[in-house]
Symmetry: C2
Subunit: 147 residues, 2 copies
Amino acid sequence: MLDAIDETIVQALAGNARMSLKELAHHVGLSSPSVSERLRRLEERDVIRGYTLDVNPKALGYQFQAIVRIRPLPGQLQAVQKLIEATPEFCECDKVTGEDCFVARLFLQSLEQLDGILDRIASKAETNTSIVKAQTIRRRLPPFPAE
Amino acid sequence: MLDAIDETIVQALAGNARMSLKELAHHVGLSSPSVSERLRRLEERDVIRGYTLDVNPKALGYQFQAIVRIRPLPGQLQAVQKLIEATPEFCECDKVTGEDCFVARLFLQSLEQLDGILDRIASKAETNTSIVKAQTIRRRLPPFPAE
DNA sequence: AGTGAAAAACGATATAT
DNA sequence: ATATATCGTTTTTCACT
């Protein structure tokens, strides 16, 4: 699917998405127009979806994070999903199989804020909240499977 | 903590981390040297931790994701954490309060792969796996709290 | 902190292999 | 699919506010 050069490019950009074409080119041993073309194709093929930031939540005033499992009450699934999406402190949310319907990540400034957010959900869903004590793995690329 | 201009810069880069200084500068109404200096300081202050990629897991051959809650057996906490870290398909892992000790995200090519990975953990921990059916919220910046 | 102007580095494009 | 050469643009540096 991806050749070794594409993999190196993706890995390098995952480490620093602002790396210049020139530096990338040097890194993989090609010319910059070649790398530019490869990048264009990686985007076109939707391998690279976008270039984004790793922001420190603490620097924005978020003191901690929580993982919340959410099980909507009967008939409330749509309403709960809308409420989650409309609550900007939910920064990640997956709809999953099993008893819990959603698993979401909350950014929080205080326990009071957590309480306020959960209160608004309480009438529509059961929730189960775990406070994040440490981030053992903080977002990483999976391996490139041999194909 | 951050002034309005820094916020605009961070938001713009969260949308496209490869945006040029010139475009950023135009966007916030400053000159490029000013934006360059602000960026330098945002990095120095550890507000911006890095510039990274949004990669499409499917394009790498990962057919689905799973959220796994992991509860180490007595005395196995360290061993379990090491095992998780050493398994590259775990792309995210938080250590949390509550009965489950870890909540992790797995990238998977097949159900067989899931089975293999869970088998290796089974002797050291109880696991509870939810397959991701949809990503309701796919990583977003929290709001900038007024301070 | 911020600017504007010059110098240096970079990226886009055209052409060729 | 890649490289080299050219050219317009962007980034950096620096003197100044």
